[in-house]
Structure formats: structure tokens, C-alpha cells
Symmetry: D2
Subunit: 346 residues, 4 copies
Amino acid sequence: MLNVAIVGASGYTGLELIRILYRHPEVAVTCLTSEQSAGKPISEVFPTLRERCDLLLENLEPVRVAEKADIIFTALPHKAAMEVVPTFLKLGKRVIDLSADYRLSDPAVYGAWYEPHLNPALLKKAVYGLPEVRRAKVRGAKLVANPGCYPTSIILGLAPLLKKGLIDPDSIIADSASGVSGAGRSAKVDSLYCEVNDGFKAYGVGGVHRHTPEIEQELSLLAGKELKITFTPHLVPMDRGILSTIYATPKKATTTEKLVTLYREFYDGEPFVRVLPQGSLPSTAFVRGSNFCDIAPLVDERTGRVVVFSAIDNLVKGASGQAVQNMNIVCGFPETMGLEGPGFFP
Amino acid sequence: MLNVAIVGASGYTGLELIRILYRHPEVAVTCLTSEQSAGKPISEVFPTLRERCDLLLENLEPVRVAEKADIIFTALPHKAAMEVVPTFLKLGKRVIDLSADYRLSDPAVYGAWYEPHLNPALLKKAVYGLPEVRRAKVRGAKLVANPGCYPTSIILGLAPLLKKGLIDPDSIIADSASGVSGAGRSAKVDSLYCEVNDGFKAYGVGGVHRHTPEIEQELSLLAGKELKITFTPHLVPMDRGILSTIYATPKKATTTEKLVTLYREFYDGEPFVRVLPQGSLPSTAFVRGSNFCDIAPLVDERTGRVVVFSAIDNLVKGASGQAVQNMNIVCGFPETMGLEGPGFFP
Amino acid sequence: MLNVAIVGASGYTGLELIRILYRHPEVAVTCLTSEQSAGKPISEVFPTLRERCDLLLENLEPVRVAEKADIIFTALPHKAAMEVVPTFLKLGKRVIDLSADYRLSDPAVYGAWYEPHLNPALLKKAVYGLPEVRRAKVRGAKLVANPGCYPTSIILGLAPLLKKGLIDPDSIIADSASGVSGAGRSAKVDSLYCEVNDGFKAYGVGGVHRHTPEIEQELSLLAGKELKITFTPHLVPMDRGILSTIYATPKKATTTEKLVTLYREFYDGEPFVRVLPQGSLPSTAFVRGSNFCDIAPLVDERTGRVVVFSAIDNLVKGASGQAVQNMNIVCGFPETMGLEGPGFFP
Amino acid sequence: MLNVAIVGASGYTGLELIRILYRHPEVAVTCLTSEQSAGKPISEVFPTLRERCDLLLENLEPVRVAEKADIIFTALPHKAAMEVVPTFLKLGKRVIDLSADYRLSDPAVYGAWYEPHLNPALLKKAVYGLPEVRRAKVRGAKLVANPGCYPTSIILGLAPLLKKGLIDPDSIIADSASGVSGAGRSAKVDSLYCEVNDGFKAYGVGGVHRHTPEIEQELSLLAGKELKITFTPHLVPMDRGILSTIYATPKKATTTEKLVTLYREFYDGEPFVRVLPQGSLPSTAFVRGSNFCDIAPLVDERTGRVVVFSAIDNLVKGASGQAVQNMNIVCGFPETMGLEGPGFFP
């Protein structure tokens, strides 16, 4: 039985970690921190947890946290994460970081999109935790940089095409849409019910969304060359889910049938990627609450373009579920442990 | 390992049974029926189940179903249930019936609210499966009549008061609100997204809703005398959940503090009833996906009235979760088996 | 052409006033104030207004506002309203106040529920602006206290019964449910999309909601005696709308048919009250965007209780629409001017 | 005062026509038809209309309809429209057809996407009613083919770029998302609340959606050459609204500033197109209930691609509002008559 701490537990990804780990037979959650709600039981912040997890939230004192846990999930905003992660590592703890702080391998890129990195040397040691692409490296990792939600959906959607060199790497457009939980649990007018409900809009467009360099870093590695994409996130009036609709130009004409076969082979044996049968399309509703990424590639025969649809639950495969998947790999547990259930519908 | 059949699997309660039983370590789902979708895999009807449950849906042939299962959940409309349940029983199977067909002990009452009963003798043998009120009888039952969703929320909300004789039994008003999944999965204009979204209304008012006699039967038993209630169901634009706000006149003046103590004692040890701390109120959001019933009683000190709030997930404690709870009791499994998880939020 | 100012224009009721007055042929909106967004055009705060109303928001300087307007709507929080209203009145302006500051005629009651009143003498001069009940007094008013949203739905729902002395005044229970816009546009975790969506709960229960004394004041006047009610507000995941389900005990047995006739007679000629035909029930969806109050009374024949359903759009008949109706009366315009349109569905 | 008939009035576009025309000072709605609900008042089908429009729905007998109306809106499914429109024309009536039946000028194209056309000669006489592009022709039209919802958003989004020859016509990708009212009011499992809520998905992808040829016909005319696009519609859990996110490759490098200037010039004087200031993005929430199309073009500087956002209310500018705009042009009324109001938010 491993002891687990969740640092930054009073946000939605913290709650989702608790929900998932509750079912995990090999770990016990022993420490939760929250700056805002320290002293309260987590079940007062999230009454859904009453009689399931009534741990008291603590202030974030890294040494005390490390004393209580073998493995630590950091579910903090960027910058806050890199202020404490080095301490955890020094104390011999393994860390799964859900923030953006260790996802970019180049400190200059991090600096350009965020701010100067506090511990740039760590960036080389961190492993980008997308198991379907980098499972072997995750295995031995001390520090796993858990991927962003949009990047997960887009990288999984494109990996087979880029790895096989089938599309023009400069032709990629990723048009994504996310549920509102992606904006977190802080009080903002833009996230109020009446502002979001019954509306649909884009935001962070034109190459300014901070997930852009992360997506490009990983797609470039897959393609074996530097590439840039056009990425357009949208906001959907729903709690959870990301659907990415990805467009690219194939190097030579292909068919939907061939693509489905390619994807099925590429993801053969992957426990959390479902390549849908030809003719089916993913919906965020059908991955809600599960760690699945549902993918459907197709060819628009009239224009020759390739279109790939990729759906995840942003809080599960896009955050906390993938973090548990990474923990399982790091700790040598079966990769699906705690993540076996089907989704939650309706 | 017990084999389980779900008759009428292509509705929302059927799906929820599959979702819950997937986690249950002592049973295997071996047979699913659906008149509309026979021949298709259930995962084509509910893609959320892909790679989790891909069983083929079958036509409902009772003998064949019975061959495949030790215990049978009937998730059929009323009347359809009583057409097949006797066969299952004759073949020695235990049945958890989620329809209304065996909930009313008096055939005349069933006849008045539905239609003439096809096997009235069975009504006496069926056990009304609300474990918090009738656990001992459920234990030996061959046929469990799984309670309706509104009745579950209202009976659990009132049981302590009626059992202790603290309220005037003729003063009860139950004002309830349900999510849309309670209307089932059949194509009706009234359940269309645009008809339901952004609206709130009552329906089935004035004593005509068919859950009325079921509620009154059980409350009368608790009170030790015949009583009638005013019951007003409402429809909320949400997928799941029932909140009942119940009003009654106490026989003598009391306080919120006393009521909370009473409820805590009454439900002491109950694994699925959470009596909230004074000052907290239940929300359907916090029971979503769990088998909990969250209850908060209080006294309106200005008028002396008692008000009780009672929240459940209509598909879980209001249907499939309670059905699994009943199965656990009937089969001698730990009562919480498969139902341990916290709820699903957000 | 009258000039109109809206003080506190950057909230939802401010926006709704602009939307309604845009169609009003006899007034022009000439001044908008907002502390938070002064200096910006209102259409930057609410882009729906672009090219329809691009007025700059100003700081609230009462004398300057009064210079620009003949009539002033104050859409401020309580207390903020009573800090400026006396100035407007002194400067000879008529005021429609949408806050709670002038709704309670007794300063002691105001003090008990809010805080000490700053200008208690004004309370006697203010007219409670529910035209269906007090049209004659509104006519000559200098200061109209525009009713609260819950009170509007409940008072209109009960007026015929109380006025005619048909129910026991101590038997009243008002169970109400409101859309989220009722909570205003300030950034609060409780009003975030993910906190509200797919959930239903009560709040402010047990006689603590500040609309309680307002409701009781008006119902007592109608009944001709002091009465107290049990009032339970709920929150519905929708933008707009209030439905009140009101229970009472009739003094002697009656029928739904008689009640419908009574209500039709009582509200005969009222332009904004629709008494539904027997068998129909109101939905907030069908009053959305309109100034209607839809009412259906009935008798629960099994218990003899009277149940009245009353639906309004909380931002229209529950706030800004009623404010315009009051303005029309005060100014001698046709009462329906600017409010003629049907509702907005779906 | 012109008399107006709405054929197919019991759907959402029929209702929206009534809502808009109610405010129109120069027309009176005198005849409504509905096959399903003939004999009932329209206000029984849509209670929002009570006391605003209580006309009885009639069976569709073309000669009788024509007797009652000067101008006829046909809000029927495709095929049903072309079965009656010739009769109306023969009887000297002007027709605004909201179906797809007269939008495609080439009968062969209609035949390929729908079925053989019943009156192909009429296709040449019909005018595609997108006023911003074809106002002059609409003026004298006897038969206006009112554009589809997706086409309206996409054509208006691209017209300036294509007309000026600034983009590669073969590079166009239109990624659109629609509210659920676009699916109409017929009872289908796919449109049930619980199937749609909290989910996001694509449908009709890969070039099979029937709006594709309509979009391509109009874009080709603007470009002066045949072009094909990739068009991907999505379904959003909301009542109303379409947002199109459109991608294209510019022929030579440009800037957002230049594009905004171009669009402002192109749409200068257009009463229903709002080109947003640089840095603002449209939301369907801000056009809801209005006839506006909000547009924001930009350049993704990292890839050089042009991205255009275009938002409409699918029931207004995407259907009934545009139909009234066309009627105004046809009849010589001010083009904005009845369509002046700002949108409906929240």
C-alpha cells in the first residue's frame, strides 16, 4: 500500500484524483493540501466526498507533505508547482505534476510562454507522461509531467499519421472544444453559469493559447521535424469533455478504411484508446468519467483532406486519470488499475 | 461468481445497472435483452460501454434468459414486467424488478392506478426493497420490488418522523423535482433538449402521479395508520437527480437540533444515508453517481413547520444502485459491494 | 420623449432594462452608470448591445445623472440604493428602485432583515409597485419600490385566494425555484457553471431568505391580518425563470373549476397575468423573455389542499419588465408599452 | 398592412417567424398551417404565444392559404415545400421558402443531394436570399430561397476574402457548431435532453451534410471559380446558435488589422453584420435572439493562416429573421423592420 498526497486538492482535478484513487486497491490518500481551505475537511469543500474521504486539508508545507506520502500529485497552478516540486524530489519522493511547469523540455520556450523557469535543469529529467507515446520513459521517471488536456486529445489524434509520415506536417489545424471545468474552480465572471450557458465561442485563438508549444513539441518529435500548428480552442456549455477536430493534408491520397486500419494497428493493445469502427464518431458524452480517448480518423473524399476526431474527458484522460495511469506505470502497478470502469452516461 | 441477466437493458436504468455491476466482484453480467435493439451489441446502443461490455442484446425469451442467469433484473415498463416475472420465479430464479408491478401490495390499488394485475397472488410474496426500512424481509426474498425514485427520496426523508410519531400524518406535502432521465429514453417531444432546457415546470400534479399510492402505502405502514399526501413532481433541466422538499406539521414544537439528532440515530449505521450536519443542505449534484441519500431535516422556527430535504440520484439510489443493494442483501454479499465509490462531480 | 437613466447598468437587470426600453417608443436611455466598468461602453460589457446601445458607462454622480434624466431606474444592491435615491427625489426626479430598500414599509422590519435604514421617512412615501394589486397608488408615485422576483410570483399566485378569504392564512407554504440570473453577475464560486449545472438544491431555507418579510407584508395586507409563511427557495440550472408552487388549506372545500373561474375573474383585464385553462400548468420556459405571470390554481382532491403554480421570468416580470410597467403607469403611458412581445422560446 | 401566412407553423422556425412578425408594424399573420396539430390554436402547441397569437392551425390547403395571405412563408421540410410552392406562385403570391428546395440553382445538384426536383424550371427563378450578397436580386423576387443556417454563417464569414481574391479557394475548411434547435422539433432519441446534454460531437462529416452544395455554390460564385470545401458540423448542448470557425490560406501574407479593415469596408452599411473590433471574438450568446451575424477575422501569425469566426442565431439570421429581412426587401419595407431589437442575454 503506497501513501499518496495531493497538493492542491480543492480544485476539480484534485477532486477527480480523489474520486479515482478511492477505487485504487494499492494506494491510500493520506495528505491533501489547499491554501484556501486549510483546516476544513475536503468533504466540506466537496460534499460529494462525505463519508468517503473526510481528510482535513492542510497548508502546503512540503516537508510535512513528504513525510506523509510516497508519491505526490501536484495539482497546482503553473509556477506554484515548480516552487515545491524540487523539494519533493530532494526528499526522495516521486512526483506526478499536473501543472504545465515540466512539460516543455526547453527552458527558453517555457520562458517565452510563461515566465523564467525556476529550476530549468529539472526540465531534462522530467518525463512527458503520455503513456501511449512514451511509456518506456515513464517507467523509470522520478518526475512525470502530466500532459495538458488539449495536448492529450490532439497528440493521440495525430500520432499514427505523423509517426508514419503520412501527412504534411505544416498542414495541421486543431479545432478543439472544451467543457467549463477546464477553466478551474476560481470565481470569475467569465465562468459564471449565465455567462456560459447556451453559448459557444472560441478563446485564446491565433496561436496564443499556452497549450500550443506543448502540442507542437510533441507533434514535432513524432514527425521528426519542427512543425507549427493552428490551434483554436472553444468553450462548450458542459461540465467535462474535450473534442478535437483535426485537419491535415495527406502526402498522398488515402481512404478512411486505410486510416482506420492504421489507427487500429498503431493503438493495438492500448488499454485507453478506442479507435471507433468506420462510420462512428466520438462524443465527449461517451468518454465522460472514463480514461478513454475515442478516436475516429476519416478522409473527406471530396477534398482529399484527412479529418481526425478525438474525444476525452478533460478531467480524466486529460488530467487526473492520466496522472493515475502514470502513477501505475511509475509504481509498477497494472496500468489500468483504478481506471477500469466504463464512463458515466447520461 | 453469480450470473446476472438484465431484461430491458437498452434504457437508462439498464445502462446504469451495467455500469455499477461492472465493478461488482461477485457477479458477471451474462445476458442482456432489448426488444428494440436485439442483435446489436449493447455498446452500439451506449458507446460508453465499448470495450467494457460488448454483449449482444437478445430478444426477451424468458426461458433462455433464465438459463443464463442466477439472478435477473427486470428493467421493463410496468405490465411488461409482470408478463415475464412469474416465469423467472417458476424457473427458480430470484428477481429484482425495477418496474412498478410488484410495489403495491393490494391488487385493487394496482388496478385503480394501472390496470388489472396479471398475477395478484405474487404481490403478497414480493418484498418492497427499501433496505433502510425493510432489510430483514429483503434478505429472504425471491422477488424484490425495487422502489420508485420519488418514493425512495420521500420515504427515507420521512421515516424517522413517522416511525416516532412526531408529525401529523395528514399534514404531509412532498414537493419533488427530478432530472430528465426519469422520463426514460423513448422519443417524445416533451423530452427533447429544446423543450426541457432552460425551463422548470410541474407535471402529474393534484394526486395523479402513479408514485402516489406507493408513497402512501409505505408512509402509512411507517405511521401505523392510513394517510394521504399531497405530492407535486417537477422537471429540472438536468440529467439525473431528485430532490424532495417535504413539509409537515409537528405534533409538538421541536428544534432543528433535535431533528438532526433523531435522524442521525435513526440512520446510524446505514451505509447509504447521510444525515447532513445542521446548516448544510443536500444538492442532487453531490449524490450524482452514488447510492447515497442525503437528508437534512429542519424546523422553520417562524411557523413551527418541519421541512425535510432529501436528495438522491434517481438512476442510482432511485433505481439501479438500490437494485444492486437489494441483490447484495438477497445474495448475502456485503451490502455496499459495487456501490462503494463517491459520487461524480462536477 | 422622456430621458431615462439606469443606475447600476452592468448587472443583468440593468441589461434587461436596456433591452426592454430599446423597444419603448416614448423614452430614450440617456445615462448608464457602473462603478466597475465606468468609462467603457455598455456594449463592451454586454456585446449583445453592440450597435444597439453603445453608451459609455459613467461613475455614479447623482447630480449629473439627474441632469440627464427625467426618470431614474436604480438597479443597485440594497443599501447602495438608499444612498442615492433621496438625492434623485430632491432633484425632482421620479425613481423606480429595483433594490429591496423601499419595499418594506416598516423601518424596524427593514432593520431586522437588513440594517438600519438611512431614510426611514421615505418608506411611507414609496409605493410597492405590484400593479395588479396596487395600480392606483403607483399612478401618483414619486418613488416606486419595484417588487422582488419571488414576491411577485407568490403574491400574484395568492392574491385572489387571500382577498376573497378562501384559505387559512396560516397554512401557506411557498416552494419556489429560480434560475441562476437571480444571483446576479458577481464572481462567486457558488454561481460557477460547473457548480450549478446538473444540480438542484434549496438555499436560504427555514425563514431566513430576505424576500420573506416582503412576501408576508403584502400577503398580510391582502388577507387583512398578519400572517407568516414557510418559504423555500431553490436553485435551478437555467438562466431565467421562477416557478412558485404554493400550498394552502381552503377554509371550505372547493374545486379546481371554481378556482379557475375565481382567478379569471380576479385577473380579468390584467394585461400580464394569464390564468391557464384547467389542465394546463405553467412552465418558466413559456414566460421567458415576457412580462407575463402564468398562473394555474388547482385542488388536490385527495387531500383537499389548494395548490397554485405561478411562473414568471425573474428578470422581466420579476424585475426589469415590471419596472417598465411601473414607469408606464407613473408616466401615463399605456401600461403595456414596450412590453407587448411574446416570450422567447426555445 | 400585408397579410402573411406561415405554412408549417408548428416547428421552431414557424414559432420564431410568429415571434418576429408580432413586432412588425406592416404585416398581420392571418393563416398558420400544421399537419400534426390542425384544429388546435398555435398557442396550445407553443404556450408562450397565449394571448399574443391564438390563431387556429389549419390543414395545408394551398388555395385556401393563398386566399388569406399576400405573402407566404413556407417552413416545411424539403420536398414538402416544392409540392406547394408552385401553386402559391401561380396564384400570384410571393413566397419566402425556408426549406432547401429552391436554394440550389442546378437541378442535377439538387437531385444528387436530395431527390429529383419536382419543378426544376423554378430553380432559375428563385433568388437565393442572402441580402448582403444579393440584395438587388431579392428586390424583385417572387420566390426567395431563404439560405440555410450553416451556409449563412459561412458565406458571410468568407465573402470579403473570396470577393477580393485574397485566399486560395481550395484551402477552405469550415468547422461549425450548432445548437439543438437546428435539428427541429420532431421526436428522435438523438435529440432527447439526456442524449444531448453535457456532450459535444460532430455529425454529418466528410462532405455528406446537405448544406455542403449550398455553401459551395455560393462560395464559388463569390470566388468566380468552382471550389470545394471541407465542412464539419458539430452539435452543442444549447438551444440556439451557430458558430463557424473558418480556416483558409491567404494568397499572400496579411495581418489581422488589414483583415478587420477589409471586413469593415465590405460590410459598411450592412444593418445586420457586426465586424468586431480587433481582439474581440463572437459568441453565439451575444447574437441570440437577434438578426446579427457577428464576424471576427484574424491571422494566425505563427502559421500565416487566416481564421474567421462567424456567429449567428440559427433560428433568426439562420432562418426566420433572415426570412423577414427578405420579406422586407421584397415588399419595399425598411430592411430592418421588426428586426431592430438587441439580442436576448442571458
